[in-house]
Structures are given as structure tokens and as C-alpha cells.
Symmetry: D2
Subunit: 373 residues, 4 copies
Amino acid sequence: MSASLPRPRVGVWLIGARGSVATTAVAGCAAMAAGLHPPTGMVTETPPFADSGLPDLASLVFGGHDTTDCPLPKRAEELAADGVLPHGLPAAVAAELAAADAEIRPGGPARGDSRSTEELIAAFTADIQDFVRRGQLARAVVVNVASTEPAADGAALPPSSLYAAAALRAGCGYVNFTPSTGLHHPALAAVAATAGAPYAGRDGKTGQTLLRSVLGPMFAQRALDVRAWSGTNLLGGGDGAALADPAAAAAKNAGKERVLADTLGGSPQGEVHIDDVPALGDWKTAWDHIAFDGFLGTRMVLQTIWQGCDSALAAPLVLDLARLTLRAHESGIRGALSDLGFYFKDPVGQAPSALGEQYAALVRFGQRLRETA
Amino acid sequence: MSASLPRPRVGVWLIGARGSVATTAVAGCAAMAAGLHPPTGMVTETPPFADSGLPDLASLVFGGHDTTDCPLPKRAEELAADGVLPHGLPAAVAAELAAADAEIRPGGPARGDSRSTEELIAAFTADIQDFVRRGQLARAVVVNVASTEPAADGAALPPSSLYAAAALRAGCGYVNFTPSTGLHHPALAAVAATAGAPYAGRDGKTGQTLLRSVLGPMFAQRALDVRAWSGTNLLGGGDGAALADPAAAAAKNAGKERVLADTLGGSPQGEVHIDDVPALGDWKTAWDHIAFDGFLGTRMVLQTIWQGCDSALAAPLVLDLARLTLRAHESGIRGALSDLGFYFKDPVGQAPSALGEQYAALVRFGQRLRETA
Amino acid sequence: MSASLPRPRVGVWLIGARGSVATTAVAGCAAMAAGLHPPTGMVTETPPFADSGLPDLASLVFGGHDTTDCPLPKRAEELAADGVLPHGLPAAVAAELAAADAEIRPGGPARGDSRSTEELIAAFTADIQDFVRRGQLARAVVVNVASTEPAADGAALPPSSLYAAAALRAGCGYVNFTPSTGLHHPALAAVAATAGAPYAGRDGKTGQTLLRSVLGPMFAQRALDVRAWSGTNLLGGGDGAALADPAAAAAKNAGKERVLADTLGGSPQGEVHIDDVPALGDWKTAWDHIAFDGFLGTRMVLQTIWQGCDSALAAPLVLDLARLTLRAHESGIRGALSDLGFYFKDPVGQAPSALGEQYAALVRFGQRLRETA
Amino acid sequence: MSASLPRPRVGVWLIGARGSVATTAVAGCAAMAAGLHPPTGMVTETPPFADSGLPDLASLVFGGHDTTDCPLPKRAEELAADGVLPHGLPAAVAAELAAADAEIRPGGPARGDSRSTEELIAAFTADIQDFVRRGQLARAVVVNVASTEPAADGAALPPSSLYAAAALRAGCGYVNFTPSTGLHHPALAAVAATAGAPYAGRDGKTGQTLLRSVLGPMFAQRALDVRAWSGTNLLGGGDGAALADPAAAAAKNAGKERVLADTLGGSPQGEVHIDDVPALGDWKTAWDHIAFDGFLGTRMVLQTIWQGCDSALAAPLVLDLARLTLRAHESGIRGALSDLGFYFKDPVGQAPSALGEQYAALVRFGQRLRETA
């Protein structure tokens, strides 16, 4: 790799391309590439990954599927009005937003859509292949950032699995940033096992669960006995509305509880609530109450209150994952990327559950990418 | 080591032997040895340390220095009334409390004490040596759990350093669980460098700083920009009163800030307050407010509220440290035990600052002890 | 009323007489009467009520209905072990606990009970009348402190209404400290309207709702726009288990929301959760998150965390209400005591909803009782 | 008063006219007068004050003193960038900001200013009188919203007192929204006693103390025993820097503690900290920890976390106070306005300390103004 040769352009195909996370990722990538903002929150821009051969932010080309019509520049203005994006940013990166908007294709299935599962996968595959061809892209990665779908039941492939199948069929890497089924469907097991590209997931670890993945190990390492871990999440925006559906919330909560069980070695008492509070917009507040016993059974309590902007927490991780998966693909790595557990509540493959160990694994993965550069 | 041979008795000499931490450690050790309570909070009772050859809890013999007169059984009753010890426990372990009480000697220097520094060290050394001889102990460790003393100024050795010098002179291991000077005095540098026994410290990491040592790395690993980290501690009991002295609080806060600087790679804005609130007794509440910037400068906040009982948090760590240091001593290990950074705000030697890495180092240390068994 | 004449003994008949609240009230009344504890939490022991002619604490005689068998002295020991009652108190008031225990009769209907509604009311009435006659009591008040029953549906009288009907038929005053139906049943409307004794209720305001009744008016008076008010309650004990039943929780939450609607003049977004967390025992933690808009729409947040012991909060109010209702009865006051809104989430009659105004009404009521003394 | 007659224009002279509070008040008044925002936070725009004859928002003319140079339109842009003012508002009310900016005169004394106390008062008086004359104003009120000055010592009049003296000498009403001395100086006692205009103060009750003024009465009315009330305030902006001066913080804290002492009838344990955290800008976080004893000495805790924007909290109160004082002046009311205690930590005259009673007094004051219309 020489500085004098331009890096080839690579694609990031977003499922849910008009959502808050996707809009923030596209706008933020353009802003950082233009030097308007420092790369806060981008792990792949820190020193351990400097020589890993990751694609430049400026070389990323965005497109995707969505079922809604609102143009990206307009979505970006809405996010700026809500304080999610800095004021002035939508105008500053209007060209990049419009370019990505032109690469968004209708998702599905739409209401009344009579196409078969196979027809839908074929259509999505064609959309992705057209994107790669039209953009003269060296390769692309498909990233699911759509609203959480209800937990699947029965044999039918849910939409997230249709997109996942299309990604692999198009020869692309795949990242599932949501708790939706994606590649975790029995009907896709064979496809996943023989994938020619790498894939990662599931369910991005952005706020409350990120905290749990460092606090759980702390209690375990100190031999403190966690009796009950209760949590309430308040959020508005589209995600709040989607998670007001108990089936969708159940999918989300499964990941949160898995992190506790994995790090504590047991399941404490306590529930997790996700409330839709439209007045909060894209801002999320998560309260956790942890009742634990110390020496001689002394009762103690830790409470945490996390107030963050979900899209701003997710977007840099999405860009990180896209870059890492694209680079792994370039390096000839295939199949489950179990070294990316740092990013997920429910990581593919065998991975440690404590954040510190996950970080160490990620840094080693960055070294491995460097060695194959 | 064979199960059929009784382990020799070993000594734990506590500086501040009538304080809350010491009383809780003595009573709790007896309670666990008698099977009255499970070893919650004891890291050395977890599987990774099962074969490290650590002295049994039943083999620990307690004694120490203190400047007050209140007998241990009475102190234990007071702690039970305050909810620090379980009701009924002081009665159940009355014999063990009385036995430890009989081994407590007056500390110093007392008001108007005309003894020289050398005379004081010699007197303390003799007290410790008498304890070892009288009890037919294989060896002993001296653990400082006295109230934090004001930051030292000038060349004079503060009391904590007198005890530390006596410990080494008596051929014992030494652990400084407080922020006081102890062995960290220039005049003791040569003594420490040539010590025939191991030593560890400084400043036990029990609550707010324990949290900071897992949250700091989380922010750093996620490339989030911590702008300000503010904290307030409310506590009563003797520690609250001692720390109401600004000089003592300064010593304590230095350790807290060091953990942040080490894990974040910089010093955020924000102050730490320690308030004496007698109504809280031995219970401590620590509130932390962490203002951080995420992607594109989005402002977010994490707050934590820790409500714990200081003595119950400290006592199992004191027992852990005593056992580890006694076993290291038995194994022929000398000097600074830098692998025990898991327990301290300001560890001796070179040690990682993230709790997860400190835990890994501790587990490796346990393996090393096993190999020399 | 002269100090030289002994006040007549009066009865307090508790529905749920073996529960935590009842046990705490009986034990606490005895402890205060014996001078063992100051009357913290007793509004009727404060100066404004000094001359209202309220029955002395020592003149209160306790009995009641319950469906469980655990003797009061044993329940008191359990509460002391959980930290709800001071250690040593059950032993100190053992005689009074045993005396009350001897006056507890089986409640109902029991499983498989074939008695008709009328037969049950008649049996309960007889129990109460026997209590009054046997104790040579001047009068008695019936106070419902049983676990919340599921919201009633259909025309059948729920148990709480059977007891309420029995109270009035026995010529006693009646207080409903729970959200259960009690006198709020259409079939009892005529009975309530012509009651010869006073009655009060419904749903004691002990913690989270107490707070809401002062915070709601604050926002309204300052013309701040409360957008969302969300809350989570964690509690164990019998009440936690009872409220894990969605129907019971719905009854409880209706009262909480009513206080907000009354004080804010509208219903903000947000939900209320009640989680059963057995590890917390009788201790309750309530977190409230209030998102409000200030000047020019600026978004602000208030959060409150209330950590209290439910029985200790409720018991003094129960004693207050018993005394006030007994005295009102003595003074010839009949029907709904709308001046006692200070104590309730859902007060009978027309009453102000802000705590300050409710307190002023209560003080005036105390003056009125004095004038009729 | 007839709707067909235009109300005369009246003046609001702000001490600290270029500060955050003043800028927010001027911009917000223009925005509401133009119908761009509803009057959230304006108590005087609620129904109880509809017929009190208060001056219309559109009739208020702003000017003032300040020692800095930054033009108001630029200050407003800075506040919008910090999220204190809505984006777009500074542009929408640019004309009104520029008009107010043209009426700002240099405050003092400046560094090296050799003018005597009398010369300074005379100069300030002339500035105010010129403002009234030039604007053909019916009358004016002087409102101190400058940064808190250190607690005065000695006989010299601090700057806030110079402005207060000038206000009365110019025949204007006076409101001290800060904890600074203002009219509370012995040398001004005679002037205040014979003032021909009304005055009010001291120290606006915007956040933590507002909460305390409703929570304190709640504990007192419920006979709960508040053992300790501790608080920490984090804030940036100019106010954070000013209050980092211990002398200024002491002046501020005196007001906070007074509210507790007045409402609780005693002074609980606990301290109040005010930390300057520049990263928070104009946003303030206040944490309060209240340890109280309930029935039988049971220990309980309430914690509150208030996250607000100081300027947005203060500005509508400043406009309220200006309107009420101007109208009182018009009605012939002179001297201390003790009915305005609702707004202040340290109200002039005899006033109740519970917010509910203060609100009732304010509503009665509004009625009194109506009757004199």
C-alpha cells in the first residue's frame, strides 16, 4: 500500500438507509472526511488501528434499502433540529447526503407484496450488485441498521433474513447491528457456513449493555453477589415506537440479559423495561439498579443513569464495523468474525463477554489485518 | 502440601486494630471459618486461587496496634447496631474477638510522647516480634488499616511510616491499605529496596475508584471524549471525620485522580468532594457525574450512585491481601508486589490501570504461587 | 377533657392484621406509648394536633382479620431481621403483640368458601362487634391495610368491599389505606351515603406519589411544561409479589396517575412500572424521570430516587388516620372525611390535590376537632 | 384600562445586561411578543394574572449596565450555539437585540476607576434617567442579573449596592435577582425605608433551591426527621466561574441553607458544593442527597438530580418580576414587596417559606393589582 496510489472506493449498503443511525453515519462520515469534526467515538481511528489497512473514510460510498421516502437531506435536517446532528452540518454535507440518497432502493416486502421469498432475495441481490457495478466499487458490505423486527416465529424468513441472504448472494460482507434475526435463521445456516465473505453481529452494544459489559465483570471479579439487576430505558424516536411492541422489545432484552448471564455466571432477579417516550426524541435515558450483597451479606446498591443519543452512539460503531469487515473481506477472511464481540450484545462465534477482553481481541484482530496488508 | 498436615498458624498484625475495617475483618474471618457465612467478597476464595497454597482462614491469628481503648467485642456490637455486621455475629464470634483484642498493643506516638523516631520503630518492632513468638506463628504480615493521616510534609516520618519500618525490621510482609505514606517515604527507600519480605499497597480500591477503574477504560476503548468527571462522597463514621481534614482528603483524592488519568490518558475537568455526614455512619454514598462527548461532539452524561458500607467493602480485600502476601512471603518472593494492583488506587511497581487487566495479573500471580507450592 | 380522667379505650381493627404494615403499626404504637421511640412520622403528634382530643396511643386496642396464620410476634421478628423494625423491639413489645394477635380472626372468603356475600358480611360484622364488646371499647375504626386486590370487574363485591360493609354495619368508622375497592362500589353507595360513622380513603400516599404531590404543583405553579413523567418502582416483600399481578398494579397506578393529572392539569407521556424484586424485601426504590420544557422550549430533566421502607412509611399514617377517624366519630362527624386528602392518592369527596393545601386542610380539621372537644 | 388604548411603554434596566440571563430575557420577550414561542415558564402569563393590569410584553423596553463589550446579537448567537436559545431565534429577533444593545451603558467601577462612591451612583442614576427620558417611558424597573459578587466585608458599598442606590434615586423600582448585597446594606437602610418605588429580592430561586422549597415542607408536614441534606452543583458558563470564588459561593449557599432552615425548622447536617465545570456551559446539574429517619428511626434516602439551563430558568422569572414591580409601581405600592417570596431564596419582608404558600401569596398580590387597576 503506497500513499501515492488512491485507495479503491468501497461500498456500504445500509438496510434502513433513511433511519436515524444511517443518516448520522452518512453525514458523520462526510464531516470527518472533510475535516469538519474529529473522529470522536471511532475506535478504528485510534492508534492501534493506524496500520491495519482499513479503507479511508473518504473512500466509503453509501447506498441501501429502505421502505420510507423521506430524502436523506431532509432527515438530516430533522436530526439537527432534534440536536442529534450539529446545526449547520446537513448543509455542509448536502452533496454527500444527496449522493447517498440517490443510491437508496425500495425495501420490502411492501404491504400487499405478492413476491415470493426467492423473488425478494433476488431483487435485493440485484439492487446490491447494481450498486457495486455502477459505483465501480472494489467490494461492499451490507449493514442492517433497520428498526428491530418482532421476534420471528415459524419457518418463514423475516425481512432481516432476506436482506442477509441477499448480501451473501451478492458476494458482500454482512453486519447485523440489530437484534433482528438476520443470518441467525436455521434456513440460512448452510449459506452462512459456506459464505465467501465475512459476517458479524448481532445487536450493537451502545449504551446500557455497554455499561453492563464492564460492570458485570467487576462484580464477578470482586466476588460480590449480584442479587437483582433492574433496568428501565426511556426513548423516543422511531426506535422507541418500534420497541413499544412487546415482541420487538423481547428480542432486544434477550441480548441485554445474555450479557449479564455471561459476565455474572448466573441470572439475577430483575426486569428490563423499554418505554416509548416521544418527547425524548432520539435521546435515551437508561436507569439501572443493581442490588448486591457484599461481605457477610451486607446489602449494597449501585445505580447508573446513562443519558445518550442513540444514533450518535451507534453511527461510529457502524462505520467501524463496515471498515473492519471490508478490510477483512479484502484480506481473504471468510465467515463469522468472532473477534468483533466488542461491538455486540450477542456476538457470533466464541467470544469473551467482558468488554476488556473483547477490546484486547479487537486490537489483535487489527494487528492480524495489518499483517495481511 | 498434604491435606493431612495442619497448616501452620500465621499472623495478621493490623495497624488501626480497633477500627471498623479491622473489627469487620476479624469478625468476618471467624464467621467464615466457622461456616456461618459464605465468603462473599473474598476473591481468594474463588476457583482461580483454590490451589495457590494460601493460608486457611482458620489459620490466621490477629493482633495489632491502636491508639484507642474500646475492646473489639464492644466495637463489634456497635458495628452490628449500625448494620455493618449482622446481628448476632458479635456474640457468635465473641471468643475470636476477645483473642484478637488480647493481642492489641498501644500505638503511637501518643500526645506528649517524648520517644524518638528510632525508639518508636524499635518499640513497634518488638511488639510485632513478641506477637509472632508468643503465637508460635510461622510468619506475619502487617496491614495498615488506620484512618488516613494528613499528607506528610517535611522530612519527619509520619506514624504510618514508623509502622512500615517496624514491619520490615521484624521480617514481616507489609500491606498499606490506606493513602497514608507508609513505605512511600524517601527515608525508607533503601529499606524497601532491600526488604527480605514482600510488600504491597497503596490505598485500597473499594467503591468509587473501583467503578472508575472499569468506567475509565470503557470510555477510552470506545474513543469517547470524557470532558468532565465530578464526584461527591458522603460518609460518616471515623473515616468521614478523618477525611473532613482537607490534608487527609487531599491524600485520598490524589489516588482517585490518578486512576482517571491513567485510564483516560488525560485529566478531565471536575472535582472530588468528601463530606463528613455523621448521620450516615459507616455507610458511604458516592455520586459521579461524567460528561462526555460522542460522535460529532454530541454531549452525553453518565451518572453513578454507589451506596455501600465501607468496612464491608474493605474487610474481605484486607483478608485477601494478608493471605496473598503471607503466601508470597512463604514462597520466597520479596519486595514490591506489583501484581496486586487489582486492590489499589496507587499500586506499587509497574501495573496496568484497567481493572480487567489487573484481574488477569492477579490470576497469573495466583498461578505463580501454586507453582512454587 | 381533664388530665385526671383516663381516656376510654378505643379499637383499631385492621384488615390484613398480620401483614407488614399492621405489624409495624402495632409494634410501633406500643414502642411509642412506652417511650422507647420518639413519634417520628406521626403527624398527629405534632403541635397543631396537640389539643384536638385525639385518643392517646396507649388507649388504642388492636385486632383484625387476616387469612394467614403467622403469629404477630413471629412476623415482628421477621421484620426486625429485614431491618424494618429495630432489633430488640419485638422482644420489648412482645406482650402487646401477643395481645393483638389474640384479637385476630380469620378473614375470607377462603378457597372453597361457600358462604354468600351476605353471610360473609354478617360474620365479619360479628367479629368486629365481639371485639368492641369484649374489649369494652368506646368505639372502633376499621382500617384496610391488606394487599392490593385486583381491580374488580362485574357486580360481585370484592373482599375489600365486604369488610367495608361490615365496618359500617358494625357502627364503626372505616379507612381504606389501599387502592382496593372498599366503599367505592356502586352496591355500597347507599350504605356510604347514610353511614352513621365517618370514613376516609383511598390508597395511602407514602412514597413516590407523596413526592409527585409536591413536585406536580411546583411545575404547574412555575408554568413549566411537563412533557413526560416516567417511573419505575422496585420492591419485594408481600406487596411486591401482589403488585406483580398486572390487575393489582393497574389499580395502584390509577392513583399515581390521578395525582399527576390533578396537579398538572393534564396527563404527560410516560408509564409507571412496579417490579417485584424479592431481594429488596420490604424496601422500595422508586425512580422518577420528569422531562419538562422551560422557557422557549428548552428541554430539562428532573430525576428523583426514593429509597424507603414501605411499612415504616405507612404505619404512622395508619395510626394517624385511626386516631383522626376515631375522634371524628366521637365528635359526631359522619360520612366522607374529605379533609384527610393529605394521606391519600384518591381522596374521598372534594379535596385539593397539592400536598401543601391538603396539609392546610388537615390542620383546619384538627382545629375543628378541638372545638368540638 | 381599555383594549383600544395602547399601553404606555415601560423600561427594564438590567444590571449585567450582556450576560446570559439578560440576553435570554431580551430575546425571549421579543420572541413571545412576536408569537414565535408560547410563554412557557412565565407565571404572569397564566390565568390568575390575566386581569392584573401587567404591562404587555410588547411594551417592555430594555437597556442596562454592563462592564463587557460583546454586543447582544453576538451573545445571543453564542447562546444558540450552546443550546440555550433555539437555533434561528437570534436572527428572528435581531432588531430587538440591537435596539436593547444600543441602550447599554458601561458599568463600574472599572479597574483604576478613581470616581468616588457618590460619583458612581450619580453617573448610574443619570444613565437610567436618560434611558427613561429618551424612550419616553412611563416608568422603569432596575433588575440586577449580574454575576454574584463576593460577600461584602467592611463598610464600603459593593457595586450591586451602588446600582441599587441609583435605581431608587432615579425613582425606579428595583429587583435583586442575585445573592449580591444590593439594598441589603446598612448604609442603604434609610434609603430603602423611604423609597418612593417598590423593590424586591433577593436571589432568584431557579433550580435546586426551588426543589428544596417544596421538599423541605413535605418532610416537615409528614413529621419525618431530616438528618442530613447534602448537595453538589455542577455548572459552567460565567456563573460557574464566578461561583468558583469561595466568597461568591458562600453568598449563594447562605440562601440555599436559609430555605432549608426555614422549612425544616432546623439545620440538618450536610454541605453544598458549587463546582465550575466549563464543559457544561450554561447547563447545570444539581444532585441532592437527603438522609431522613422515618417511623421508629428507619433510615431512608431521597436523591434528586436536576438538569436545567440556568438562563432559561431565570429569564422568565426576571420578566415576571419586572412586570409585577412595574405594575406595583404604577399602582402606588412602595417599599418591600414581601408577596414576591415565590421567586426568591431570601425574600424581603415577612414571607412564608413553603413554595405553595408563597404561590398563594403571589396570586393574592395579582388580585390586589387588579383591584387597583
